[in-house]
């Protein structure tokens, strides 16, 4: 179901990294209700009280407590319900409005600066981003990878430049510096899960975590590398000419 207002009564966009927290919590509550409704139907189909119906989630079957042979699978249940004109009884709808959660973390960057040319190489970025319970650790790590690259790129490469008349000068990749795989290292991602008490799934958001930590970590690393030369600040992108100028000003 994606953005179909015929199917989903209302919702907002995904901003705030809230999809799993809010949508996931609503889906979890709705699925619990569907299970309860299914038990009602299973009770009818198996001719027993719904209180005596057990769901074996691993097998995907409803059975009579203590008599596992008397059972019906999800497809069988739904098929029989559809034949009886009762499929709509398996539908549940839930809204969830939750409090904001606070993912946290820390990033550490290691850079090497060529003080003759101002060129900066990002050698290592260690990222700890706590997004609560991880529903899909592979995808969560992918989010951090992409965010780390974008954050590091903001620190070292990307800059949108206009001339005095407001004409954009960096409006193609020829002039807009965008890193390739050759310009970046692999990322050291450390998993950390502190479940939040603010929603039933204990999940927070991961989508923004990479970008938030990476830019200042890389920027600070460049300034730290140049501190022995008396540099206290380097304009972004902290690379090339901006580094060289900062060094010249510190010498003066």
């Amino acid at each position: 179901v994606k953005g179909d207002t015929d199917e989903v009564e209302h919702g907002t966009g995904t901003y705030g990294s809230k999809s799993t927290q809010i949508g996931g919590s609503a889906a979890a509550a709705a699925s619990e209700e569907v299970v309860e409704r299914a038990k009602q139907l299973a009770g009818e189909q198996l001719e027993t009280s719904p209180e005596d119906i057990v769901l074996d989630a691993a097998l995907g079957r409803f059975h009579v407590a203590g008599a596992p042979a008397r059972s019906v699978s999800w497809p069988e249940l739904a098929g029989r319900a559809a034949a009886d004109g009762k499929l709509a009884e398996l539908k549940a709808s839930h809204n969830f409005a939750g409090a904001p959660t606070f993912p946290f973390g820390a990033h550490v960057a290691v850079v090497e600066v060529d003080v003759e040319t101002g060129q900066v190489e990002l050698q290592r970025l260690v990222c700890v981003d706590d997004a609560g319970n991880l529903v899909n650790p592979l995808i969560a790590a992918g989010q951090v990878h992409g965010g780390a690259a974008t954050g590091a790129s903001q620190a070292l490469y990307e800059q949108f430049v206009y001339d005095e008349d407001g004409n954009p000068l960096t409006n193609t990749f020829v002039a807009y510096a965008f890193p390739s795989a050759a310009d970046l290292p692999s990322w050291d991602v450390v998993e950390m899960e502190t479940p939040t008490p603010l929603n039933p799934l204990g999940v927070k958001g991961i989508g923004e975590s990479g970008t938030i930590g990476a830019t200042p970590a890389v920027h600070n690393a460049v300034v730290d590398a140049l501190a022995p030369y008396g540099v206290r600040h380097v304009d972004l992108p902290a690379n090339g000419e901006n580094v060289w100028r900062a060094l010249q000003e510190a010498k003066a």
Binding site: G146, F173, A181
Partner: protein, 154 residues
């Protein structure tokens, strides 16, 4: 208009093209093979990468007439039958794609890289894929996927 004959994904295609038409647009608009993507105007991003006579090329920087008499492999032609090509399979398993826009270009560039260098180091992979840009993945899992494909002997 110029008459060209190009074998695309094993199938011979004859067409009249303007000499100035780029191969990328011949593939997309002429042949309906929209797996080859256009991501920039400046030969920078590599989303248009295809194989021409076995070499990876940026099809936005090749004229269709330059492919006359040649063989082109696009992303649509990579998988043998119903299974994924080992590089595609590796990209899938390693979560090396998110939005997928750069992926056809990366897969073909990786196929070409591994054909030249079957056991590349991480550094060789990163430099070998310099011509392909990605905003979603941060390249990390793309490198993992190429390494996995190399181990699988593709």
């Amino acid at each position: 208009m110029t008459r060209i004959a190009v074998t695309v994904n094993g199938s011979r295609q004859e067409a009249d093209v303007e000499p100035r038409q780029l191969l990328a647009y011949f593939l997309r608009d002429g042949l309906g093979l929209t797996g080859t993507n256009v991501g920039c105007d400046t030969s920078s991003c590599g989303a248009c990468t295809v194989l021409l006579d076995g070499e990876s090329v940026k099809s936005c920087t090749v004229l269709a007439v330059q492919a006359d008499g040649g063989e082109v492999t696009t992303i649509e032609g990579l998988a043998p039958g119903d299974e994924l090509h080992p590089v595609q399979q590796a990209f899938h398993e390693q979560h090396a794609l998110q939005c997928g826009y750069c992926t056809p270009g990366f897969v073909l560039a990786a196929v070409s890289l591994l054909a030249e260098n079957p056991s590349p180091s991480e550094d060789e992979i990163r430099h070998g894929l310099e011509g392909n840009l990605c905003r979603c993945t941060g390249y990390h899992n793309i490198v993992q996927a190429v390494q996995a494909a190399a181990r699988a002997g593709s």
